[in-house]
């Protein structure tokens, strides 16, 4: 877990150093956005494949999916509400 965190951090820092210090071609910076989108959609597609191939996930999805969804919605809902309050009180609201 810690190794993963350090690896991610190292990669982001490496990217950051390149972004900050090396003069990147205007063209590349412009393309960065669509490159990210393409990468992201592909990543999500593969994540979907992983879920779809896991029979255990698909089967339990059908039996306990509704209860699980109720829990997820409340979990996400209250995290957003609490973060909203923190944003309002300490960060001056909408960004």
């Amino acid at each position: 877990m810690t190794t993963r965190l350090l690896m991610y951090l190292a990669i982001i820092i490496l990217g950051g150093l390149i972004g900050a210090n090396i003069k990147l071609k205007e063209n590349f910076i412009k393309r960065l956005g669509s490159l990210q989108t393409a990468c992201l959609l592909f990543l999500l597609f593969v994540m979907g494949i992983k879920i779809g191939m896991d029979d255990k996930v698909i089967n339990s999805f059908l039996s306990i999916g509704l209860n699980a969804t109720v829990i997820s919605i409340f979990t996400i809902g209250f995290s957003i509400i609490f973060t909203f309050i923190v944003n309002k009180l300490f960060f001056g609201g909408k960004q």
């Binding site: 992201l40 592909f42 999500l44 979907g48 494949i49 779809g52 995290s79 957003i80 960060f91």
Partner: protein, 197 residues
């Protein structure tokens, strides 16, 4: 963006379930890791191009820690309330919420307690990540950038980070990474703790 995200995930699930041969699964983790590394590298470049980010983060200071605290508190309270509706005891429902979207670890942590609850924690946290992926762009647009970190929980450090980066700005992306890292460390402590209450 949300629409394209939903399509990508659904296409993946459908082709994984119906079309593709099972042995692809051996490569899926490598591909995900590789894709993630590439994306995080791009996220880093984005942050590096915005040099003012660090001074702005510094100005916010220790207050940034309130973001993961709010997400953790909201997640546990939210799942506990869902537990009241679903007639689950507080410790069981709360432990699922304390998984913060990290489905593999939270289900492992709960497995010795009950395999039924472990499955529920797994699916619920998978769904949390799926919902997060889909609504982060909408939350960023309609409610606020800081709030867009909330659905991601522990995944704000990895799988959700590229989406947060695309939907918000470099400053929030950095706060999201810090938040995700703190949530990631909190999961293995909080899940057993709440389960034993």
């Amino acid at each position: 963006m949300t629409f394209r995200i939903i399509i990508a995930v659904i296409l993946g699930i459908i082709s994984g379930y119906f079309v593709l041969p099972k042995d692809i699964l051996n490569y899926a983790d490598y591909i995900i890791d590789l894709g993630l590394i590439l994306l995080l590298f791009f996220v880093g470049i984005d942050i590096g191009l915005n040099k003012s980010v660090f001074s702005r983060i510094k100005a916010k200071g220790i207050k940034i820690l309130l973001v993961p605290i709010a997400i953790i508190a909201g997640s546990i309270l939210g799942s506990a309330i869902a537990g009241v509706i679903l007639k689950l005891p507080f410790n069981e429902a709360g432990a699922i919420g304390a998984g913060l979207g990290w489905y593999s670890l939270s289900s492992i942590l709960i497995a010795s307690y009950s395999s039924e609850l472990s499955a529920l924690a797994f699916i619920s946290n998978v769904i949390r990540e799926l919902i997060a992926i889909m609504i982060i762009p909408i939350i960023a647009n309609k409610i606020g950038f800081i709030e867009a970190i909330a659905p991601a929980g522990a995944t704000a450090m990895d799988t959700s980070l590229p989406i947060i980066s695309k939907s918000t700005d470099s400053e929030i992306t950095l706060i999201a990474f810090i938040t995700g890292a703190i949530c990631t460390f909190a999961v293995p402590i909080l899940v057993p703790f709440i389960l034993n209450l």
